[in-house]
Symmetry: D2
Subunit: 320 residues, 4 copies
Amino acid sequence: MNIAILTSGGDSSGMNPAIKKFVEYSYLKNHTPYFIYDGLEGLIEGKIKKASFKDVSGIIFRGGTIIRSSRSKRWYEKTYRKQAYENLKKHGIDALVILGGDGSFRALDVFYKDFKVPFMGIPATIDNDIPLNDYTIGTDTALNVIRHAIDEIRDTASSFARAFVIEVMGRECGYLALTSAVANGAEMCLIPEVEYSLENLKKRYLNEIKNGRGYFIAIVAEGLKITDKIKEWFEKEIGFEARSTILGHIQRGGSPTVFERLTAAEFIVKAIDHIESSPDKIVTHKNGEFILKDLNEIITSKYALNPEMLKIAAPLMGKE
Amino acid sequence: MNIAILTSGGDSSGMNPAIKKFVEYSYLKNHTPYFIYDGLEGLIEGKIKKASFKDVSGIIFRGGTIIRSSRSKRWYEKTYRKQAYENLKKHGIDALVILGGDGSFRALDVFYKDFKVPFMGIPATIDNDIPLNDYTIGTDTALNVIRHAIDEIRDTASSFARAFVIEVMGRECGYLALTSAVANGAEMCLIPEVEYSLENLKKRYLNEIKNGRGYFIAIVAEGLKITDKIKEWFEKEIGFEARSTILGHIQRGGSPTVFERLTAAEFIVKAIDHIESSPDKIVTHKNGEFILKDLNEIITSKYALNPEMLKIAAPLMGKE
Amino acid sequence: MNIAILTSGGDSSGMNPAIKKFVEYSYLKNHTPYFIYDGLEGLIEGKIKKASFKDVSGIIFRGGTIIRSSRSKRWYEKTYRKQAYENLKKHGIDALVILGGDGSFRALDVFYKDFKVPFMGIPATIDNDIPLNDYTIGTDTALNVIRHAIDEIRDTASSFARAFVIEVMGRECGYLALTSAVANGAEMCLIPEVEYSLENLKKRYLNEIKNGRGYFIAIVAEGLKITDKIKEWFEKEIGFEARSTILGHIQRGGSPTVFERLTAAEFIVKAIDHIESSPDKIVTHKNGEFILKDLNEIITSKYALNPEMLKIAAPLMGKE
Amino acid sequence: MNIAILTSGGDSSGMNPAIKKFVEYSYLKNHTPYFIYDGLEGLIEGKIKKASFKDVSGIIFRGGTIIRSSRSKRWYEKTYRKQAYENLKKHGIDALVILGGDGSFRALDVFYKDFKVPFMGIPATIDNDIPLNDYTIGTDTALNVIRHAIDEIRDTASSFARAFVIEVMGRECGYLALTSAVANGAEMCLIPEVEYSLENLKKRYLNEIKNGRGYFIAIVAEGLKITDKIKEWFEKEIGFEARSTILGHIQRGGSPTVFERLTAAEFIVKAIDHIESSPDKIVTHKNGEFILKDLNEIITSKYALNPEMLKIAAPLMGKE
């Protein structure tokens, strides 16, 4: 088979190891791997190239995606999808593997309905917001980049009586914020999925200050859009000088962690092994296993945060 | 209950987050946490202290173990174990949690047989050599320290036509070497558990050199004690200038990764939740679950490397 | 002599190695070192303690300042300075060493005029904005933290046709932005000290895009307060999707670099060696030498950016 | 002019930023830059290529050298130098810039005497062993890689009563060991240039152990070849369990530091600005200035370690 890979939507660290494995494992299984550059836009434009071992040499430790990504509005017009299909036919591509989020999966699902081009979706986004799935490529690296940043902020935080309000990525999903708050021993964790009580937190903080607490580290999910408000809250309500920091795009970068690289490779193996028999599926990772799911099942479900971690973090949200 | 924690044998990154969680979770569950300093030697000497929140503030991001570790020969004389028991009684300690490897678990098992002091063993060693168990505390951090070192060596490797032979830790166990070879895209992986064929590797390498291969990264497990021999082999048999590097103790250090911190905390929760009902057990982590095991079951089993990973790495060992 | 050290204003990485050297070198020279905690506020409050070797063990690799810092408004009322003076007398302190910026030096200069307490000022701020001085403690570490962040952003930048607008610290001073732009090969560098021409940059960029430029990295000094405006400019005028990132407080953190640690130690040696003979001076670092300056000379001068570097960066500002 | 650059001998981090600057500054000054791949061996083989901006895009943050390096024995036979000269003539190369150590400079000096091909030598080696010169490209990065490794070892060291003996690179030169010992607060520093007294160190250490010292970090220069002996000395004479670690080739790698990148660029500017007027010189860096020196002056001098730093480190060598 001729199988092409593309990356779509926001990039995440781990896409490159996945691309490398895609090329190597395709050849091992006697398929021919192709690259589609620039995501769906590149598919419309016909930016398709046969991939070689040389293309993927030395990329395992690089963030980002060497085949680049894009967001495409044109894709939702059938004319452009038709054009994309013609491009695939021209290169003899039999099937597609796409790394991205649920928007990307929908895009290929529509395409499958149009032209019956088999595809496998692999969750790759630092947001970790895919339902029925525990892990999306990029998450472990993002969590460790955040950890490293907080390690650096901690010393400066403890040099003052200060509150540091740190905004982490995740769009509408609080996964990165929740996990980071627990893993870094933060004092506050605010996420879109859970109600929080500043009133309760205030009571607790004022009490802790009396007992000698010298500084606060607060993790706030970007989806809440309240980072500055929380900074002011610390100054007005808690009486602590406060600073806010938006970690921003460093969270998408960094050399992929070992876990990232290994998991990315396993996603690819699962995708290639089943792309012929299951032409329209998403590879999910649940309780340590890789399971194929229908897109429909995924988009009609809701992703859920780990209940154990929510329990641990409850005090950081002002829940009693 | 009064529960004491101690760390024993080689240290590993992740012990400190475990110690922090031990203190916090003990208080949450209305137990009183104690520290035993300097491992079993400290237990013999009576270095026991009630632990406070303050003791564990700011340790989550530190490698090593703040309560220090040791190896004890005296422990195997009953007189000293008796003395240790007296020390525990003096402080009213009801149960022990020990972070270490199988040697440490045996030490407490003997002690349990002597004096019926309940204990829970938590696997903590960068070697990842505990049977019936997937994960030991320290492994994810060690793997990422190794990754970082190889990332740094890679650029210098590609600046020459050279072979870099990198020795990684693990004592008799090839886990770190195997996983690192796969995760870092190495060309050679030699471990104690699997026969390798230098003859086959030579054939393959000479062929690859003809096709333009510019450098080699070889990962060798310390247990084989052949690092220098492999360096010479590259020079004599392959005709490549070679360098060897023993990564050494940096592999035990480094700020614990996010996965490390979270897993360490989960081990502790499991241990404290069951220490009363199951007084003589090891907490294991298998297929994503935490399971209590009898020491006997563990020491009569053999740890096994991941068969999938062995398959992937087979060509790096010269297996056809 | 009894010499006390305090840190004042914003913290910077390198303060801790300076504090360590202060203690060690004081004892070597048969002085007695004291700590004043919490900066000038702590001096008013009498938070003074004799310092020991043990206090500074293991701090050489930590960012921030273990004796903490503050900003004090009360200091400008003579009553409080009087109180501070009484505190010094009570502990028998003969002289002060202060790590901070020009505001901190003025504070002690006023104090010297009041009570004739000898002091030495040591420039410590990541802004590097002290006149007649090349280096302030914290700068080399901050530059390398910025470098590391840009290294991580670069891979994600090259995964899209995008402009990344990165805001770096420095208050009114463009030093960090200028140096970072040159050291990281940025395409744009905007700082408060130099006029820039977006018109010229636009011409150049549009031309470069025609020749295949795939992404832009723009470094903008925080003092300009135009980060978001530049992001919009890229989208409207250049037609490139843009992202902005404010690096924020990670720039104050991080383990001090080797250069930082060595330079911090040399500042301290110079200060202690001359504090008796020159009771009211600032230690400056100019062309590789350490020179004592009168505060007056400093505050009536203007700091200057390196003209060589400005020349190199001129094209990044749209200068022809 | 057509100017070619080559890298020779051991690689060091900072060579790539120098190569990038070489290409950019050559074009700015209306020269045409060329690459010679694989050092002097490549020059003999005629591996010469005109360099473009594209060749150096994205290399500023990479260790190693993209034009690769080598050691050449053939160079010392005139036949091969003749062949090299013919290759240069064929490509119309007017002058050479070489990054390397004194051996590389001698090689080009001989060549200059043969064929009058103008060259500029730029010191690039992590050993920092060039006489009359303070800084060689690669040193600041190597020092910070060592610092990072010691930061990681420190936590594990403090988890035991142990001595860690760390061997750092530098061949016959103790610069890296001396600077690292001072910058990292080590307890022992042994280098080839200075006599040390284990007897005195023993007295001091035994005394410190009585006063509570818990661990030792010893830095030993590779040139002494006594790392294992010192490990045994700690065990036998001091009674401390000891571990030795040879940091090895990670010291040549790592993303070049900011100081490295800026200094590398300045070396290049100086070399290109004067290559026509001074056809047979070495660019040296002394007291903050870049100065051209005759090779003869360099090879008849002896490099000297910083006397201030030697004074600071004297107690770590057992000097009273």
